[in-house]
């Protein structure tokens, strides 16, 4: 394989010396960037929690952790996350099995509909479900009370159960997508041999299919757990009036309440450490669970699995699927769009109550909204481009150069993946508001830095996936033909991974457009983002205007997703 007899990836001959310089430079550069953007915020949180004015101070941490209100919010966070994980996993597995293994019709349509919640921020769902099922004003509850003549609502969305419901609707696709793809990659002959040996349907599912997709389930469930533990928007919207706080919303409250005083930021940092501890504990549990079931029987090539006939249950199950899709996807979007057209919140949906005034207001009269759309576009494009190149650079160093310290680099680039956005925001505030001679607070740059740190894991994962497909021999061939290291990178490697880079850009651009958790702590007078604008309009009670703006955001997000599809389809076709 290798003409020079060196190990793959090591650089042959004299041309290597210059190349080594470049590789070394890339290694140092990517480590430096990651240390500053990712590691420093975490260190600053720890430093500020335990050190006050140069002296060790445990008391503040103990007091904050022991505070009954804070303990209650830890409890809420864990309870909500566990329920969301359990329900989301069950829901995800059920639908994935239906689409991957049964003969249910309309599979393509359902598969794409199921990924819709994935596109929108969960706090849109919280807004929508609050409109539908707020205890007295929710449209469904009002209808119910009118029909029954009573004053008890059908369901109170402003509750722990409501928060669990909305988060489940938005997070079950994590498990669904993982399991569907595992089912598609799984060798179906294993199931068939069990069946031939006389096993019944349930037995096959329980003893063959489920264990085989267990790693996929665990990975998806873990994503749900981490996302829910660090989630801000839904409990912030549904929990506030009922005094239901989770750790992220409590941290937000503390920062707001402290009126910017340093003591408040320190207390928020202490709570951040608590949140990190909870997340790390969850990660540890997942590691233990995953160890118990590792199966390597998933084959790379795809084979047509035998589909299970649902027979008489086919249509009822289809009806259940479509109904649940209607509830999860269509209903919330529809109500947000309709309310955006209402003259005033609370009026019935009748023609004379509709107006386009809210759209005129948010699009043309509101300085804040115009700013926020521009800011979000700038931030998503800029962080998309910068982070994508950073991700390629880190992935190149980790996958191709393999220096001795690559483990550190890998950990640093994957750390933000499990770091709650609100914790990252606190760390970024501590680093970039004057602690190191540079004050970016209130500017758009502090948000950009936070976005880069937040999304570098996405970019790194997608870039290393593309890079691993580019064999060493290609670059080596270029080098042995006399190309310099830089040329071989520029003319061989980069063009080969370009489609992956474009897809990676969209993987950052799209979540960037709807980001709320991090920017809600970092925005300044002119640097509100789209998510912050919608959230704060809604929180202040300007429901119809915030719904109108959310409708506009839905349009932007849909357009972005169509663009992503267009790009990736091109890649597959080529």
């Amino acid at each position: 394989m290798n003409a020079f007899g060196t190990k793959p990836g090591a650089l042959p001959g004299t041309a290597g010396r210059r190349g080594l310089g470049l590789d070394f430079g890339l290694y140092i550069l990517s480590t430096a960037i990651l240390v500053i953007t990712v590691l420093l915020p975490v260190l600053m949180i720890a430093y500020n929690t335990f050190i006050d004015g140069g002296r060790l101070d445990w008391r503040m941490f103990v007091r904050v952790v022991g505070d009954p209100g804070n303990l209650k919010s830890v409890w809420n966070t864990v309870v909500i996350a566990l329920w969301v994980t359990v329900l989301g996993t069950v829901l995800g597995i059920f639908y994935a099995w239906l689409i991957g293994r049964s003969d249910i019709p309309l599979k393509g349509l359902m598969k794409s509909l199921f990924t819709i919640p994935y596109m929108f921020p969960p706090f849109f769902g919280a807004m929508a479900w609050s409109l539908l099922l707020a205890p007295r004003s929710g449209y469904i509850n009002r209808l119910f009370m009118d029909l029954t003549g009573g004053t008890t609502p059908l369901f109170n969305m402003h509750s722990i159960a409501g928060i669990v419901f909305v988060e489940t609707c938005y997070y079950f696709p994590f498990v669904f997508l993982q399991v569907v793809s595992a089912l598609e990659r799984m060798d179906p002959t294993l199931e068939e041999s069990a069946r031939i040996a006389g096993a019944g349907q349930w037995y096959v599912i329980r003893r063959i299919t489920l264990p085989l997709v267990l790693p996929a389930i665990a990975a998806g469930a873990m994503l749900i757990l981490i996302s829910s533990l660090s989630h801000f928007g839904v409990p912030a919207i549904l929990g506030f009036s009922q005094n239901i706080f989770t750790l992220p919303t409590k941290i937000y409250q503390l920062i707001r309440r402290s009126a910017g005083s340093f003591q408040g930021i320190r207390e928020a940092a202490a709570l951040s450490i608590l949140l990190i501890v909870v997340v790390v504990a969850a990660l540890y549990v997942q590691k233990r669970v995953l160890k118990t079931g590792r199966y390597d029987i998933i084959k790379g090539k795809s084979m047509r699995p035998m589909l299970i006939k649902l027979r008489g249950a086919r249509l009822p199950i289809l009806a259940v699927c479509l109904a649940s899709l209607g509830v999860i996807v269509v209903l919330p979007l529809a109500v947000v769009i309709l309310v955006g057209f209402l003259k005033a919140y609370g009026l019935p949906f009748r023609f004379e109550n509709f107006t386009i005034r809210n759209y005129q207001y948010v699009l043309f009269r509101s300085r804040m909204v115009i700013d926020s759309i521009r800011n979000s576009l700038f931030l998503s494009v800029a962080s998309g481009v910068i982070t994508m190149f950073l991700g390629v650079m880190v992935a190149y160093v980790v996958v191709k150069v393999k220096p001795r310290g690559k483990g550190l680099l890998e950990i640093l680039s994957l750390l933000p993946y499990s770091m709650p956005g609100i914790v990252l925001a606190i760390g970024v505030i501590l680093v970039w508001s004057g602690a190191f001679y540079l004050n970016l607070y209130n500017t758009i740059w502090i948000i950009l830095i936070a976005y880069i740190a937040r999304y570098v894991s996405f970019a790194m994962k997608s870039a290393s996936a593309s890079l691993e497909q580019v064999h060493y021999s290609l670059e080596e061939a270029a080098r042995s033909c006399g190309a310099t290291h830089l040329e071989s990178l520029r003319d061989v490697t980069l063009p080969l991974i370009r489609p992956g880079m474009v897809a990676g850009f969209f993987l950052i651009f799209l979540p960037g457009m709807r980001e709320l958790t991090t920017s809600v702590l970092l925005y300044g007078p002119f640097t509100r983002t789209l998510g912050v604008a919608i959230y704060s309009m809604n929180a202040e009670g300007n429901t119809v205007q915030s719904s109108a703006l959310a409708t506009i955001a839905i349009g932007i997000i849909l357009a972005g997703n169509l663009a992503l599809r267009w790009v990736t389809k091109d890649r597959k076709g080529a």
Binding site: G69, A134, P135, R136, S137, R142, F240, S241, Q242, N243, I255, R256, R257, S258, A259, G260, S261, F262, K343, A344, Y345, G346, L347, N353, R357, Y361, R365, S366, R367, M368, D371, R374, N375, L377, F378, L379, V381, A382, V385, S433, G434, N439, Y441, N442, I444, V502, G524, P525, F526, S536, A539, E540, G541, N542, T543, A563, W566, V567, D570, A574
Partner: protein
């Protein structure tokens, strides 16, 4: 085909990036340019529509001054100010928030610029700080908001005690005083008053009073039937009514919280002339007329707002608030409030 697609993508990305950059450079021009073009920045808890209307009127009168505003609840504006102060510079030239006690603090910290505006000649001295560090620029009153589809005027609460009517049990809300300056002022007035005191707030909590995070939320959510009644701000209720919400507003028979929302210039303002021009404009009849059209009670005694209470009449029924006590007790007040309500 692929090439075209790639070009289209690059073009789209370039346009997006330019849109972002364009906005930034335009902004920095506004603040950096000296000489002919000036700029002024106001931080305020007014509604965005009110500030937008003021900006339109002001820039018509002063085409060479670019006015910018940042609007958020009083609590958020205060947070922003405190952070900026720590970071070494307040970006605002004027401050206009709901809670007058903040200005006593500002004055003590030496943050304010003394300015006796010639435009304020008509306005009674009681609305002005003796050192002219700040003056009231609008009046905000709180009262009871109800939904006209659910309650008649006769059934709506008229006094603070009426809120405890069993009919409103678990169906009533107010704004969180942590975020709303006007509600903080009201809560302070109530607990300082022997007629109500903390006992009254405990009763409200036991009665099922819920908290909302925004002053508009308590009003709009009565319109949507979420609550039967709420303690709300008059101009927010009036503007919701004007948009078609089925709301009614009652001024309390006695103890009306009246907040003289003051305006002040920041001492280290880099745009002092422009700041004075905006100050004068807001106090002037023209500026107050803009506010009036946005349903806000003007400070100028000559001006009248339809469907609003006479200022002189309201003052007779005013809820007295000890400003100095509020300033010193603010944190313990909020903590005690939280211990009851949260």
């Amino acid at each position: 085909m692929r090439n075209m697609k790639r070009k289209a993508l690059f073009a789209a990305a370039a346009v997006l990036a330019l849109a972002g950059c364009g906005s930034r450079s335009a902004k920095s021009e506004g603040t950096a340019a000296g000489g002919g073009r000036q700029s002024v920045m106001i931080y305020s808890s007014l509604k965005e529509s009110q500030l937008a209307a003021l900006k339109e009127g002001f820039m018509k009168r002063h085409p060479n001054i670019a006015m910018d505003f940042y609007t958020a609840s009083t609590g958020n504006v205060m947070t922003k100010l405190a952070t900026e102060q720590q970071a070494g510079g307040i970006a605002a030239d004027l401050i206009w928030v709901g809670d007058p006690t903040n200005y006593i603090d500002f004055k003590k910290q030496g943050l304010l610029y003394a300015y006796d505006s010639p435009a304020a000649a008509d306005i009674p001295a009681k609305f002005k700080d003796p050192d002219r560090m700040f003056m009231s620029a609008r009046l905000i009153m709180l009262g009871f908001v109800y939904n006209t589809r659910r309650l008649t005027y006769e059934q709506a609460p008229k006094t603070w005690e009426d809120l405890l009517n069993p009919r409103f049990r678990n169906n009533i809300a107010m704004t969180d005083p942590t975020s709303s300056g006007t509600t903080l002022f009201t809560v302070a007035g109530l607990v300082q008053n022997p007629r109500y005191g903390w006992d009254f707030l405990r009763k409200l909590k036991a009665h099922g009073m819920l908290l909302e995070s925004g002053s508009s939320a308590v009003v709009n959510k009565v319109g949507s039937d979420e609550y039967l009644v709420s303690v709300g701000v008059d101009y927010i209720a009036r503007s919701a009514m004007a948009q078609g919400a089925t709301l009614g507003f009652v001024y309390p028979e006695r103890d009306i919280p009246i907040i003289e929302s003051p305006i002040a210039i920041i001492r280290n303002s880099k745009n002092l002339d422009a700041a004075k021009a905006l100050y004068d404009y807001i106090i002037s009849e023209e500026g107050q007329q803009v506010l009036l059209e946005e349903y806000t009670l003007p400070i100028n005694p000559k001006m009248r707002l339809d469907n609003a209470i006479e200022v002189a009449e309201a003052e007779k029924r005013m809820l007295p608030v000890d400003h100095v006590a509020l300033v010193t007790d603010k944190n313990s007040l909020l903590e005690k409030f939280d211990s009851i309500f949260k």
